[in-house]
Structures are given as C-alpha cells and as structure tokens.
C-alpha cells in the first residue's frame, strides 16, 4: 500500500508574523520557513505505519515553487521514500489543492492519504474534507490515534465532546491533530541520503488541474496593538474604570 502525505511550506511557528507595509500579504523576506507542524505529524504517522509493516511506500508531496523542495527534502530525510513537487507559482486555494491531490492520489493509486488538519498560515481546515468528497472516499478528521487493520482504519477523533472512535474503509483520507504523535528528529546521515532520493517535479496542468480562485483576499491587517494599561488602587476604581469604557 502506498501512503501519500501532503506537506505545506509555511512560516515557522516560532516566528512573529508581520503584515507587509502595504497590507498585501505576510512578510516572508528573511523569515524562517518550515513544514506545517500538522503535516509533520501526518508524515510521522505514515512513517510509523510503514515501519510497522502496514505500508510499502511513503510519498511526500507539496505544491509550490522550487522553494518548497527544501521542505520536501526534509520530509525525505525524515524517511519518506520519494517526493513529488506540484509546480505552481501561486499559493493554491483549498479546492484547487484538493483537486491536485485527487489527481495525484489516482495516479499513484494511493491506499491512504494522510494530511495535517490545517495549515498554520491560512488555518482553513478544508482541503482534507474536500479531497475525500472529490475522491468519493471516507474521511477521518482530527485523528489522535490511527490503527490500520484488514483494509480498514480505526481512528480516534478529537471532537468537541471528547473522543470519537470511527472505522473507515481504505482508501481513505485522514487528517491529523496535534496529539497523534511527536515527529522524529532528522538524523544527519539521513540528510545526505535524502539528497539522492527521487524528487519528481510535475506541473499542475500536467495533472489536469487548473487554478480556480473562489476566494478573493482584499487585504491583511495586523491585530490592533494593546494600549497601555493602568494600575487601579481598589475595586471601586476598577468598577468605575470599566464602566467609563462601557465594558460593564
């Protein structure tokens, strides 16, 4: 069985996000970029599945310009067998991304697609669900435990009410949550090996997908800065200050 894992190149979670001066986007100049943390967890799960003898190949893919090859190489160094870069020069919106994933899943005859539940840049949480719908296959989202047995996946989902256990038939789409696992550290010799692993570059059009932007971003604004606080002497003053501001 082949497992497909999607990874997205995003601004590292430690970096303080800054909006560009003209509000046209997020500052990425000189900013550390990483694999979306949820996608790293997805990849870790795929690797563990393969190591447990339940899969034959782990294919890691990303959509973007050549810069995303850096993250694909990291994925290969973690242990993926090969990588596919879906070449495109603009960020893909969820529906287009899902269509590209569908084309890839069909081409590879994937038995399982594991994705992060969302990317930390746009926080959409849409692509895995869209892919499942387009593919006509089951979805198991927000996974905190995955167990593959006899062509089925038993998945514990993190839902508002607690934990929900479901079983889905493979092929399926699993989107993973934070508590599923802790991704491994990359070993230095693996980085050297990763340089020799295959990395295929394929155009979006070659997959038969065209870019469709259904969302228009008008502008980006940073959250308002916190104004300076005051120290109150007693509860009486606190109440009156809050009243003055119309907060109570």
């Amino acid at each position: 069985m082949k497992i497909l894992v999607g990874i997205k190149r995003v601004v590292d979670y430690n970096v303080r996000i800054r909006v560009k001066g003209d509000g046209s986007g997020i500052e990425t100049d000189g900013v550390k970029m990483s694999i979306n943390p949820f996608d790293e967890i997805a990849l870790e799960e795929a690797l563990r599945t393969k190591e447990a003898g339940k899969a034959d190949e782990v294919i890691v893919f990303s959509a973007g310009d050549d810069a995303c090859q850096q993250q694909l190489r990291t994925g290969l160094a973690m242990g993926a067998d090969r990588a596919v870069q879906i070449q495109c020069d603009q960020p893909l919106q969820p529906l287009t991304a899902a269509r590209a994933m569908l084309a890839l899943a069909q081409r590879e005859e994937a038995g399982l697609v594991i994705l992060g539940k969302q990317a930390i840049d746009d926080d959409n949480n849409q692509t895995p669900q869209m892919l499942a719908a387009l593919w006509g296959r089951p979805q198991a989202t927000f996974a905190s435990s995955v167990d593959l047995q006899d062509g089925k996946a038993r998945v514990i989902r993190e839902v508002d009410a607690g934990l929900e256990t479901i079983e889905v038939n493979l092929p399926a789409v699993i989107s993973v949550d934070l508590r599923l696992n802790e991704p491994r550290f990359v070993k230095l010799p693996e980085i050297m090996k990763a340089k020799r692993k295959p990395l295929e570059v394929i155009g979006l059009e070659e997959l038969g997908v065209s870019v469709e932007n259904n969302l228009a971003v008008s502008d980006y604004t940073p959250p308002p800065t916190r104004s300076k606080g005051i120290v109150v002497d007693d509860t009486g003053q606190l109440v009156s200050e809050l009243k003055n501001r119309g907060l109570i």
């Binding site: 001066g21 000189g30 550390k32 802790e182 990359v186 010799p189 050297m192």
Partner: protein, 536 residues
Amino acid sequence: MNYTAPEREIMEYDVVVVGAGPAGLACALRLKQKRDDLMVAVIEKGAEIGAHILSGAVIEPGPLNDLLPDWRDNPPPVCVDVTGDELWYLKKAGRTRLPTPPQQNNHGNVIVSLGALCQWLATHAENAGVDIFPGFAAADVRYREDGGVGGVIIGDMGVDIDGEPKDTYVQGIEIHAQVTVLAEGCRGHLSKRLIRKFKLDADSDPQTYGIGMKELWRLPEGRVQPGKVQHTMGWPLDKDIYGGSFIYHLDNDRLAIGFVCGLDYADPDFVPFEAFQQLKHHPMIRELLEGGEIVSSGARAITEGGFQSLPRVEMPGAVLIGDAAGTLNVPKIKGTHQAMKCGMLAADHIAGADAAEGFDQCLRDSEVVAELHKVRNIRPGFQKGMWKGLVTAAIETLTGGRLKRTLTNHADHSALRRASEFEAPDRGWVERDLPPRDRLASVYFAATEHDEDQPIHLQITEPEVCTTRCGIEYGHPCTRFCPANVYEMVEETHGLRLQINASNCVHCKTCDIKDPYQVINWVTPEGASGPNYQNM
C-alpha cells in the same frame, strides 16, 4: 546519563567546519574552490543559516571580491552602498559632530545583514559541493588516539531535563575529519575548551570582549536615508565605560540600530541592555524611531582583544578562525572582512598542507594580523576612560601603530568592582517609552526557542557561589548583564534561589565571559534551539 548508548554512527570528511558564519563559510567555499577533491562539511547549531548571526553590519567587500569575483551581479539580499559617515558625541540632550576617524571611513563599503549574507554565502558553498548541516550542534570534540583533534561529536537530540532519553531520542553522530576548523564566533564553547586544553593562550593576553545588542526597525515611509552610516559615543555611557552605538540606514524603510559596550566595565549594577534602550531615547534617535516597529532584535558578544589577545590558532588536528580566534578590528568596528580573510587563509593552508600544523605562522604573517597589529593599542587605551582613550587613539593613528609599545589587556570578569567599593555615577538616564518595554519583550523579537525539557545548557559549576560570595560582593550581576533575562534570583522561604530561564537564551555568551567567579559555563543546547533572527 544512566542510559548506555550504543557506539555512535560515524561520517568521514576531510575537513569539518564548526559554525556557518562568515569565517566558516568563506573557509569551506574556498576549500572547494582550491581542492574539489576534498570532502567538506559545515555544522551550524542555528535552525537555519544566519539564525544565530547578528552584526551591524557595514563590511569591507575586499574578501568577497576575492572569493566570488562576480558577487555584485548577484548580491546578497540586503546590500546597500554606504553613502556617508557621521560620528556624533552625545550628551543627554545635545550632540556634537566629530570628525570621522580614518579607520571608520566607509567609502566603498556596503551595509548588509550578516545573517542574510551568510545564507547567501551558504548557497554558494553548497553549489560548490560543501555539505552544510544547519540545526546540528557540535556538542563535543572527538579526539584521535594520539590526543589530537579528530572531528566533532554532534549533540544528542531528545534528551530530557534530567539527562534521560525521551521517546524522540536520537543519538548524535561523530564527524571524523583530518582537520577541524573552529569557526564558532566569539567565545565558542568548543574553542574555549580547546584553548584551555592545549594552552593556546599561554603566550597571549587574556581575550577581552564587548556585548553588542541590535534591533532591526521598520520606520514610517521616507524617514530612512539608505546608505547613511551613523555612529555615536558618549551618553548614555559615562566616560569610564567603553562603547557606542551604530545606526545604519538600509533600504525599504529599514534601519539597523545597535549598541556595543566593552565588558570590562567596573560597575556591578550596570545593565548593558538598559544602556541600549536609553540611547534610543536621545532626541536625535528617538525622533528617528518614533512610530516605527521592531522587526527583530538580539545580542551577541564580540571579541575586542585584538593583536595581543590572539591565542595560538592551531593545535594538533584543528585551527581557530575568525572571532573564535579573535580577529575583529575594534577601531574599524568591523570583523567580517577579517573573519572571511582568516577563513580563506586557513582554507589555502589546509588545501596545501592537508593539516592544521603551520597555520599559526601563516596567519601571523598575513595582512589579517598586520591589520590588528597596527591598531593594537587603541582599544586598551580606553581602559582609563574615554578622554585618555581618544588621545591614545589619535597618537596610534598618527604613528600608524609604529610606536614600540603594546598595551596590555586584562580579563573582563576581573574588572568588576565590588558593590561596596563602587558608586555608580549619575548617567542621567530617562524614563523610557519606546519598545521593547523590558528584556523579556525584547527576547520576543529574537524569536528564541528551546525545548524546555532538555538539560539546562547554562551550567553553574559551583552553585553555592551564586547565593554566597557573588551575591554578597557583587549583588548577583548575572541578573543584570544578561540581555535576555535568563538569570533571576527568586525569593524562597530559606533564602534566594538562582533560577535559570535557559529557554530565553539568545546564545550571546556574555554570562560565560562576565561572571566574576567564572562559574557559568555556556554549552550548546539541542541543535536548532536558540534565536531565529531575521535579517540581523
């Protein structure tokens, strides 16, 4: 650690370089240019190349012309030609323009982000066939059977705070090499160990240091004058503390502002970070910054000892280059060109000799040391205060360093005076309102990150000294000289307890240098920990 580790995996290289700064990268690239058959690796503890690099930085492009003759066709991402120099003497409210000393004439130089330059240089080195490994820390030295240096040991990953392996534990590998090049920058932790072990400083003065702090700002449109270089001396420092500021105008409304002061200050209550923040409130600078925002900030110690503090730079199997050795030129306020030249010189030597032996002489015969020799008395001249220092500087500049005298350097940690013997002068410091509010707010802009469940990388060799002698005599100066607020004395029922907030550390090494009892030992944390500087 109770856990018995299996034998470490080994990778073999001809040369391993520790540290992807200007010295290390120039050395690695030059090695491949000279000898394509050599296998060269560069190990860098920062998560990315440039993540731990912080500098002004106005650089002399000479070594770049040598290393990459066509570099101007494809320059590093931040690179602005210097258009003019200004030197100001500041008083609390006023200022006087001083003539720019010849060493500080920046005609023909460029303002860069050293972090961005290193990233760019790393790409060149990788294209030339160098293997570069960011995110891996050289935690220890690997010794050959004959006792010489035979490479480095990469730090283990996934070790918990008590030293036990976690689920994610990965053992670090050994990198074996014919020659190990230590390019860790100022006060590198392996360099420090090796200088001691091989007594490399037996014939030199103690090394001396400064602490540099820097902020990168984005200012309202039109305020920045790209290429303008400003330096200040005077306020907020009193005449007994050596130091000053730099203000470099970049493109795209960006401005680099920083402050450097000698770590040979005597006042146990002095807070270098506060001095930097005060400086920003001088009317001339405040006017510039107001309404802008901080993009990134950080701190790093620099070597200031120069010629007389330069240790022997070779030992069996290894060499020291750049600021790991101490090649920075203080009167020029520049180290990058010296570091790069030193790295290239080491590369030429290693490419020819296939060994470390002979590099010390090679460096001492070079223009790198000639440049240090010429200005050797200027920095120590300031030990007796600013005015005497300026006189010495003038004499040494006029005579081109040809006077037959060499002033002596003293260890910075011995310069601190006891609290009871020292009365700090009134420096006329003001109430501040520009960001950051305090050191913690500043650390936020350094984007520093350490997994908190790992061994504390700031080792206190004699913890009882902190609460007893050091506390009584100096009043816990670690809580003040650290620019990242790593050290805190916490009140507890049975007295004060030293709390080390290791995850705040920006790897500047000031504590390792300035602590008066020398009980703080900075060792590397897990690879990829530490600051994530952007364009610093």
